[in-house]
Symmetry: C2
Subunit: 205 residues, 2 copies
């Protein structure tokens, strides 16, 4: 006996979300049937709103409902663009209230294996934004895995040629973390980029 | 800056599914925005179908779209009822092609702490089904945690009084599993319920 069509369809939909395997998808499909009808209607409404109400800013790639809260803000410094690969990262940085420039959401990192070249992840659009805003600095906040590093190096070399300063977020020891819980690479980076006690920030070799 | 309303609503919907915490819910909400519009429409359709097409069998609690494939089957043995707590478990048992009786899906296990009493989990309905079908045996396939055991004992005592045989699936060593990977309780149960080499099945003390 096979599960009924609706359960298969639900599982297939969940399966398309990242990090959801076939077993979890099946479990979530059954759990969806157990949601109250009202909760299911709210779920439908939320996905429907994502289709009709949510837009992506053509400049930075951030999701918004009325107008982009970042690009449309004249008080922000348009000469700095911070590059991330996820809108969620923008919210995390905004929470710190330590950055007042623009953002740019790349559609992933460079990956020849997955057919993601510079155009596919939106680097030409980033170049255009940098030009339009007369950017003086690009700050990279990409993942530190191999693909993220490759992408960071690619962007650094691209904008280096245009005489635009390219920086990256400092690697180091998270505030409040004990050394023993950290990986070797982070500790190594924190030694390499150690800062003078009388200076506030990081030294960039 | 807060996430936009639609993302909050999506995250809230995912949050209602079991095993999804706030962080995962947020991640899935953003991932939903990245699904293609067609995939999102299929997702909506599947949830909508769950509201309009899927019914729960009033007898056994199994989900179906046309008619209950189990209760409506005259070739099945109506005098045996196998009790589970999840429709998924029915599919797992059906796959073995080793059981030809009826099923009954309890709405969870007894839990005074969570206000789940016999009526809340459907035991009176199970009694009625047993009566209607003139059941001679109730087979329990409930979880082996404390609440599952309590529920099994409760049902065993209830139907024992009615002179209906109550059995449970055998505990023991899964076929193909090495002893060293098994927990003590399973090994202890497998010793206690050891079977004669010349008999096929388990001995029930």
């Amino acid at each position: 006996m096979e599960p009924i069509k609706t359960i298969l369809a639900l599982a297939e939909s969940y399966r398309k979300l990242p990090g959801i395997g076939p077993k979890t998808a099946e479990r979530l499909a059954y759990a969806t049937l157990r949601l109250t009808p009202d909760d299911r209607r709210l779920f439908i409404q939320a996905i429907d709103d994502s289709l009709t109400k949510v837009e992506r800013c053509p400049h930075c790639g951030f999701y918004f409902e009325d107008s982009c809260p970042i690009c449309a803000d004249p008080k922000r410094d348009h000469s700095t663009i911070l590059v991330v690969i996820d809108s969620k990262d923008i919210l995390a940085i905004e929470k710190t209230k330590n950055y007042n420039g623009l953002y740019f959401v790349l559609d992933g990192t460079l990956s020849p294996l997955r057919n993601r070249n510079a155009k596919a992840i939106g680097i030409p659009r980033l170049e255009k934004e940098a030009e339009t805003n007369k950017a003086r600095e690009i700050i990279l906040a990409l993942p530190t895995d191999l693909e993220g590093e490759t992408t960071s190096l690619y962007i650094a070399s691209l904008f280096g040629k245009k005489n635009i300063k390219v920086t990256r977020l400092a690697h180091g020891i998270p505030v409040g973390t004990n050394l023993e819980y950290l990986d070797n690479l982070t500790i190594a980076q924190s030694i390499q980029h150690r800062t003078d006690m009388d200076k506030g920030g990081n030294e960039n070799g």
